[in-house]
Amino acid sequence: MSDVLLRTVNLRRTFGGLAANDNVSLELRRGQVHALLGPNGAGKSTLINLLSGDIMASSGQVFYQDRDITRLTPHERSLIGIGRSYQKTNIFPGFTVRENCRLAAQSREPRAARIFSDAATWGPYRAVVDAALRDARLTDVAERRASDLSHGQQRQLELAIVLATRPEVLLLDEPLAGMGHEESLRMIALLRGLLASHAILLVEHDMDAVFSIADVLTVMVNGRVLITGTPEQIRASPEVQQAYLGSEEAVHV
């Protein structure tokens, strides 16, 4: 059950004199939602960027199924099975929803030398894209321009693009950001559906959502891991209470 897909060892990243991440070690397992909590500036986004390769570690290591991937570029990490979504919607606005996902599927089978074949009609792309659109519930708007979608639908597309790359690990940076209540519930249901086959790292400010779905939580403060544990352990922890008392955010228990 608990096979570890992604693991970090003493990960550290400094910006000038500031250690945005320091001595961060955690494990993502298949079938688990691992939520990352912490006040603004705690280093959550830095950690996601370190895992996806968008920024490089100053020291420490990242392992993917025992392979050291600390020095791999973002596209290499994507190709081995790590997919990430962005906090700020990061799609191809001028393309149709379908083309957004199709490009993602294409990255798995580039066929770059086939310059006389039609990318849009190739069967294997279509199959992956249809599945991603269905999972993200975007089938009805597949032919619309991505820039014409509502904010919530663009968030779903953000996820659909990741799914079309068929990753094993999902790094989700605030997938519920700016979503209404209904949309949030749908997204959570969607994530639950993906759980069995994926390892999910979730950064999210919506505490109700986090506690409803997370199997493991890690609380970060000032770039360091304060505590890692089950939702019950986190709720009961005096350290967490204290860390949050000083900030404006509060854990709703």
Partner: protein, 326 residues
């Protein structure tokens, strides 16, 4: 073919344009036939740049380097070193050499982005310019070089056509122009072409979903270089001469201007832009002394009021027409 023919109106326009080009030599004197040949060659040059600027989002300010290099390969093979004048050898050689040169330069310049990319492409083009301006072994001279003759189309003893004939050269260029458009239309719907357009749209996300963006850009840069080399080759053939000015930054700026005038990322934009530019030049220079000034003003006005280029004029007019009817 959707990239080439996007609507019924476009189809009619395209058919009319090609038909006009096909019958043009029958009605005109040699002078204008040569002029249109020249503009078609410049169209090919502009269209090759569109692959970079309009489809990949790479604003190259040194595209004339490949244009000039393509011409010089023929000049060196055919005239300076007298190795061969065969069309079937020199034309592919021109394209291969320029593509290879573009690949090598691309290895360096594609590591930069935005403003820096514009500057380093310009810098590399200037380096090549001075090669052909100053190095004797490369035919270096500020006057360029006059060519011995047109390339020979002979295969063994059989001569299918003579490029020294004005009309034959015209149709040869028209054929290659159409072939280039078809090639790019196919390329742009292929996985490679789609990926390039994805890079233009959102380079960061392309990298994040697993595309080695640098390699894709390098492919685009190489292909665009080879196609510009073909245009330069034909330009040298038409003029029966080469000149370092073919590689100058004026030439790079002019082709960029044609593309902006015609409309970027439209495939036909380069063609329409080159003809618009030539027409403006021709008309203005006949009745205005300071015609460069007027050309500049007209270009500014066109860019201000038709940011999509001349190609968007059609959609604008149709929009007005339909707006009035409803």
């Amino acid at each position: 073919m959707r990239t080439l023919v996007t609507s019924p109106t476009r189809f009619v326009m395209v058919a009319l344009m090609l038909a006009t080009l096909a019958v043009f030599p029958f009605f005109e004197q040699q002078f204008y036939t040569e002029m249109v040949t020249r503009v078609m060659i410049l169209s090919m040059f502009a269209i090759s740049l569109d692959l970079l600027v309009g489809y990949t989002g790479l604003i190259s300010f040194g595209h004339a380097a490949w244009f000039g290099l393509g011409g010089y390969v023929f000049a060196l093979l055919g005239t300076k070193y007298r190795l061969t004048e065969s069309l079937w050898l020199t034309m592919p050689a021109s394209m291969a050499v320029t593509a290879a040169a573009a690949f090598l330069v691309g290895l360096f310049v594609l590591r930069t982005r935005g403003m820096f990319f514009i500057m380093v492409t310009l810098a590399f083009a200037q380096i090549l310019y001075f090669f052909f301006h100053d190095i004797e072994a490369l035919g270096g001279s500020s006057d360029g070089m006059n060519l011995r003759g047109k390339p020979s189309a002979a295969i063994g003893g059989w001569v299918p056509f003579e490029l020294s004939d004005t009309n034959t050269l015209y149709y040869f260029v028209l054929l290659l122009l159409v072939a280039m458009l078809v090639f790019l239309a196919l390329l742009l719907r292929s996985p490679l072409g789609r990926a390039l357009q994805g890079i233009r749209e959102n380079e960061h996300r392309m990298e994040a979903i697993g595309f080695p963006v640098y390699r894709y850009k390098l492919a685009a840069f190489t292909i665009a270089g080879g196609l510009a080399g073909l245009a330069g080759y034909l330009f040298a053939v038409l003029n029966s001469s080469v000149n370092p000015e073919m590689l100058s930054w004026h030439q790079s700026a002019e082709v960029l201007l044609m593309l902006i005038l015609g409309g970027m990322g439209q495939l036909w934009g380069g063609l329409i832009g080159a003809f618009t530019f030539a027409l403006l030049q021709e008309v203005l220079s006949t009745f205005a002394e300071k015609w460069h000034l007027w050309l500049g003003i007209i270009i500014i006005l066109l860019v201000l009021f038709l940011p999509g280029g001349m190609i968007s004029l059609l959609d604008r007019i149709r929009g007005l027409w339909q707006g009035r009817r409803t």
